[in-house]
């Protein structure tokens, strides 16, 4: 959206607008300063990946779990349902309606996730913050350019943003076991199983659209939560490809009318290095 040109001495409303536009973000330096903070030491992010049982114990446990799982899937219908959800990386919602809770403390950060202004880090800076080695696209589709990346502490994920004239491409990667490993989709969504190298990936088109926001109560504070209702739309110009490999979860998401096709996303996924 184009801004109204500022006059030499702005009036009060222009000053208000200018103040609202000032949204500084910390650099990677702050994250590195706080990386070893005492409140973070007891919950190391890579803990699940660094535990190495002895080979004999690991094989024994794996065999036992497999037998138990096989019998459960075979004999118990509800477990069969759960197994289906585990096999599918995506988790079907009970319906095409979804309600999520957000806080009011900094709503712009939620609504503006895809805003290029939120992708301020270089790949090296994100890698430094995340502490794991990042894969990158080896070839970039015509018209797309790299904007920047961001590190999300909550999921220990790094997302890189590429942007074209009428589309955006997000590449997200994170170790398995941090936060939720599933991505909720509507009950009507169609998941297509595809091959990504040695792994099985899942491709889905569509996405959630916010349709209603709960009115903010007069007594609410910036820390109060509000509910946002969203509905799943299969025709939304969004395509998502997710797969797991080597203990990491990867996701490529193309957004916008000029977005990438299924085969283009698979080619990009196969070329990650």
């Amino acid at each position: 959206m184009e801004k109204t040109p500022l006059t030499e001495v702005p009036d009060e409303s222009q000053i208000e607008a200018m103040l609202s536009e000032i949204k500084p973000m910390p650099s990677a330096r702050l994250e590195s300063m706080l990386r070893d903070a005492p409140w973070r030491k007891s919950v190391p992010a890579g803990r699940a990946l660094t535990w190495k049982p002895t080979r004999k114990l690991a094989w024994g446990l794996a065999g036992f779990v497999l037998i138990l799982l096989f019998l459960s899937v075979l004999l118990i219908p509800s477990v069969r349902g759960i197994a289906r959800q585990i096999i599918y990386n995506y988790l079907f919602a009970p319906s095409n309606q979804l309600e999520v809770q957000v806080t009011l403390a900094s709503p712009a950060d939620l609504y503006n996730f895809s805003d290029p202004a939120n992708f301020t880090l270089s790949v090296q800076e994100s890698q430094q913050e995340a502490g794991f080695s990042l894969k990158q696209l080896t070839s970039l589709p015509e018209g797309l350019r790299f904007i920047g990346s961001r590190f999300d502490q909550k999921y220990y994920s790094v997302t890189m943003l590429y942007e074209g004239m009428d589309s955006q491409l997000f590449l997200t990667q994170r170790p398995q076991g941090n936060g939720s490993d599933v991505f909720g989709i509507g009950s009507d969504a169609e998941v297509k199983l595809v091959r990504i190298g040695e792994s099985q990936g899942e491709y889905v088109t569509g996405g959630w659209i916010a349709v209603a926001t709960q009115p903010i109560a007069p007594q609410s504070t910036p820390w109060s939560t509000v509910n946002i209702q969203a509905t799943w739309d299969n025709s939304l110009p969004q395509a998502t490809l997710r797969w797991q490999a080597g203990g990491y979860i990867y996701e490529l998401r193309s957004l916008g009318e000029g977005g990438l096709s299924e085969s283009e996303l698979i080619n990009l996924a196969n070329g990650l290095k």
Binding site: M1, E2, K3, P5, L6, E8, V9, P10, D11, E12, I15, E16, M18, L19, S20, E21, I22, K23, P24, M25, P26, S27, R29, L30, M33, L34, A37, P38, W39, R40, K41, S42, V43, T103, A105, S106, P107, A108, D109, P116, A117, T120, Q153, K154, P218, T221, P222, W223, S224
Partner: protein
């Protein structure tokens, strides 16, 4: 109604609080202190370390925790300003380039117009830092953090009308003090 949260004694609760508030605290400190970015980051870092050390004395819900962090941050900024005055360093407050770049990231202005508008933001930032601390804090909460007037009034234990009047007067002062070309 906000449910009381568990105390912040354990690392996980504190870590959750940190994850939810670090950007808010960073912007609050940035607005009060004025920059440069490195000092703002140092003060943000100190705020959380000080809160961690003092967590045993805290009790309350999430909103109380945010106000508590604001209080710690404000005190640290006041100390930093005292040190700055002692060292006669009055020229270090400025908006960092990355913040200005973000403001103009989607702008399609000509380079000349953009340069002029960047200069306007720089002037505004300087004038904001010249406001009394309490007025500046209100503007930071209202515009940089997007709080509603009633929330600011609640946080500062003031009447809503009083906060509105202060904000209006502060905006008028910024306009009055704006240097003519």
């Amino acid at each position: 109604m906000l449910a009381p949260q568990p105390s912040l004694q354990d690392a996980e609760s504190f870590s959750n609080l940190f994850a939810r508030t670090q950007i808010v605290i960073f912007r609050f400190v940035y607005g009060l202190h004025g920059g440069p970015l490195q000092e703002v980051e140092d003060l943000t870092c100190d705020t959380f370390y000080r809160a961690w050390k003092g967590r045993k004395g805290f009790s309350g819900d999430d909103h109380d925790a945010l106000c508590w962090l604001f209080t710690i941050a404000r005190n640290l900024v006041i100390d930093a300003h005292r040190r700055r005055k002692t060292h006669s360093d009055e020229t270090s407050e400025h908006l960092d380039d990355a913040t200005l770049d973000r403001i103009f990231s989607s702008s399609q202005r000509s380079p000349e117009d953009e340069a002029a508008e960047r200069e306007q933001f720089t002037r505004l930032w300087k004038l904001l830092q010249e406001l009394p601390d309490d007025r500046r804090e209100m503007l930071v909460l209202r515009y940089m953090l997007g709080w509603q007037v009633k929330h600011i009034a609640g946080y500062l234990s003031m009447e809503e009308n009083t906060v509105s009047v202060y904000i209006r007067r502060s905006l008028e002062q910024l306009r009055r003090d704006w240097p003519e070309e």
